[in-house]
Symmetry: C2
Subunit: 545 residues, 2 copies
Amino acid sequence: MPPVPDSLVTAARTLRRERLIDLFGNDPTRVARMTLEWNDWRIDFSKERLSTDALAQLIAHADSCNVAHWIAAQAAGEKINLSENRPALHTALRQGGDTPLYVDGRDIIADVRATQRRMGDIARAFREGQRKGATGLPLKTVVHIGIGGSDLGPRLVCEALSADRAPIDVAFVSNVDPEQLTRALKGRDPATTLFIVVSKTFTTQETLANATSARAWLAAALPAGSDPGRHFLAVTANVSAAAQFGIAADDVLPMWDWVGGRYSLWSAVGLSIAIRHGYQAFAELLEGAAAMDAHVRNAPLASNLAIVLGLIGWWNASVLAHPQRVVVPYAQALARLPAWLQQLTLESNGKRVKRDGSPVDGPTAPGLWGDTGTDSQHAFFQWLHQGTHEIPVEFVVPIRAAHPLHNQQTLLVANALAQAQALLIGRRGEELHRELAAQGIQGPSLQPAAAARICPGNRPSTMILLPVLDAYNLGALLALYEHRTFVESVLTGINAFDQWGVELGKSLAKPIVQALAENRALPDGTDASTRALVEYVRALTPKTG
Amino acid sequence: MPPVPDSLVTAARTLRRERLIDLFGNDPTRVARMTLEWNDWRIDFSKERLSTDALAQLIAHADSCNVAHWIAAQAAGEKINLSENRPALHTALRQGGDTPLYVDGRDIIADVRATQRRMGDIARAFREGQRKGATGLPLKTVVHIGIGGSDLGPRLVCEALSADRAPIDVAFVSNVDPEQLTRALKGRDPATTLFIVVSKTFTTQETLANATSARAWLAAALPAGSDPGRHFLAVTANVSAAAQFGIAADDVLPMWDWVGGRYSLWSAVGLSIAIRHGYQAFAELLEGAAAMDAHVRNAPLASNLAIVLGLIGWWNASVLAHPQRVVVPYAQALARLPAWLQQLTLESNGKRVKRDGSPVDGPTAPGLWGDTGTDSQHAFFQWLHQGTHEIPVEFVVPIRAAHPLHNQQTLLVANALAQAQALLIGRRGEELHRELAAQGIQGPSLQPAAAARICPGNRPSTMILLPVLDAYNLGALLALYEHRTFVESVLTGINAFDQWGVELGKSLAKPIVQALAENRALPDGTDASTRALVEYVRALTPKTG
């Protein structure tokens, strides 16, 4: 990667001293030049700490980083995941048509279509009551067992889509914590429950533990001699391990090396979506994502949603050095969006070296968190408005309601716009002094009363407006975030598709499990804190057996 | 407040250059000196970027900030919420015994006891099927309508407590987004549904909109002439507004000026907890909180959980200048803890001026976010281990399971300890080079392969171990966080009990609602971005009427 151009560093220095509202006064074309439209979407980033000049320089920087080339290389199946020598072809999962795409000489589109047909068949059979359990009763409810990428995406989509008819009940169990599975099974009828076990390797500790406990729950309740295997489907690349667990090959759907876990909701990992909302909803999700893919591949740099949002993200994180960003969806149905985005952005770009192993100069991915509006206004918006940290905020607002009630949707959308406005303009001391004085507050209490009410404003945000939150637009939104995350990785030189940092904790957990479960000694050299904690946990754990 | 002592600034400068693991080698007493116990709890902060010397200086600083005095003043009912001229007496809500406590000449403990008796009676009647709706059928399910402090606390507790019998179904509706209420009402029987409307002022926009829609839903379904008011309870300080809405005075429970919204779950705001889990569980929650209150009021500075955790929080945020912290409960039942903590800490301390109106020197509350372990390990832990930001992490780990399954609880706890260890010790390049070379990786690919796997370690964390997540320990945990937040406010000089920063957005929303709903013009001087967004929303909104 080229280093951050000096001109951008200089622009950042100037812009840090500016009041954002003044940038509007100086340039009547600002809003038009800092707004992008696509289909019925509108993305307004005119409230970011950015000038139109700096924006032009950012676009030039994207060009010199070959962003468009990288996007094309990703889509074409080049092995851009260098450290694992793999392509990153989640986009192939939503490609329309049957134009072949070869990975190691094999047409993966044919594989994708075959799997989609099976997903459609399974979903239809389940929804029509044709999938029977061990006692011959139709299966009625689903428990999806998976964690990380095998959980966050399908769970987000299952919850985000609204259904006018009663959707199939799908519970998600991810945590190894036994309480989650216990609660999910409570009141469920073993005879009519299907478990979908999702794990690329079929060795994921949490998923195997939960699947094993689920099998034991079935075995204890089903008639003697019946086959709990009929209550399981697996989504995995490891068919033999699934078979060993007791799941027939016919009940195993594939995962592929060329799809990373956090990009996998578009694959058979999304089977629960197709069961809960129907395969048609899943197909519309893919269509929306494919439409966004086409936009991102074809639009010029300056009008490319993913490239411009990626540049703004990189500008905020790497040039202005903001260490966190907040995402606030004004849609209760998107309550799980921040969690999905956390994995997407922080597992992809939460790294410190470039593809060649050399250290990244400067900061990489900023922390990302958020919660829904309007709830957040009653939780952490106080801090956004009056705290000492300048936090870039991203508002995601579907304009029309799926189920309108009186004026509630208007209140929802108006609040989003008002909060972005409040972050921009703030509230000044002089005005407050006048108002409070008019209310009769005077003397020594006037100054503290006004000071407590001042909002400095001058805080950046981006507004993403979608027409409505249906499957198509949701697919496009999630695909946009995937591409944005990739653009950010290109700008920092990071490989967005590996995640070696999660290995260390896994390997350190093993000796601790052995110490707790089998009373074994910890390895030599274990730090004193960990030793003391293990001893304490042992002392407080009831002895079994 | 005294300024940050130079000696602490110097200590921070030195400690920033230290490797945390070396601090252990230098001091065999470190773990013992940086661990606190209370009942069966253990809090180990030996992995923080802190020396025992710096810790002693922090304790001295707490002394010079009169932290113990402020804690006593809060508990005694002094009007420490200066900007609103009120006490902050959430601790009175959980006080045992009937020792009077006077606010403006009135014994509030007598009021608290009377309300608790009513809560107990209501919960008992509901759970025993004696509370009847308009058609004479017993009410069976609850929809709790409230937002912010009237939602986050009761919702957290309702979800955190496990129940061996089927608990009463309580849905929470907070967002003005019509989708949330629509989903909550789907499949519910109007004849057997109770709504609890919680709003101190009974004017909260979201809550009133949802309550009004709920009343319309009841009116449309109940027999003509029946009284939907019988399906409502209110918790509010504004009895007349509740009456005007159609709720009889007998069905209104009080809120008081001397309890802030984000500290209110211990009041009648927690009625849903008592209905869902029984009044006994609510009483145990209060007892646990009272036990923590007694500890915080009486323990010396150096062994006081709230003071030491508050000092660590202040040290990380204000001296080491970390702008965010991450909290990871290793308990699925505590999934809502981060959201509750966000409001508690960011609404309390997300401010820029001290009590006297003068600006705080340096940063105030850092961002706070998190999610459950082990799920987070598959989401954002990559970033904690290998990102470029040093993020202080707080682990919250109940040791024993409420419902054990095989070895799952052991795996859960072991993972928490292993992650904290991994953050501390990391994984070094030399070791990785050797391992990878032994696997046959060599030549130019060896260095990047090793670099991608290096974890720098040297990242701080605190481990909070509780024996088990029951109502008593949960009450103590939440009370501890309240006190910790107050200690942090005292160290920065902030009034933790007002929230003036949320007013601006509310006032700006009004003209935008009028522009969207009534096509009125926006006020003169509205910024160009907000104008353009309003116009766009209008264009995409279906015309009604």
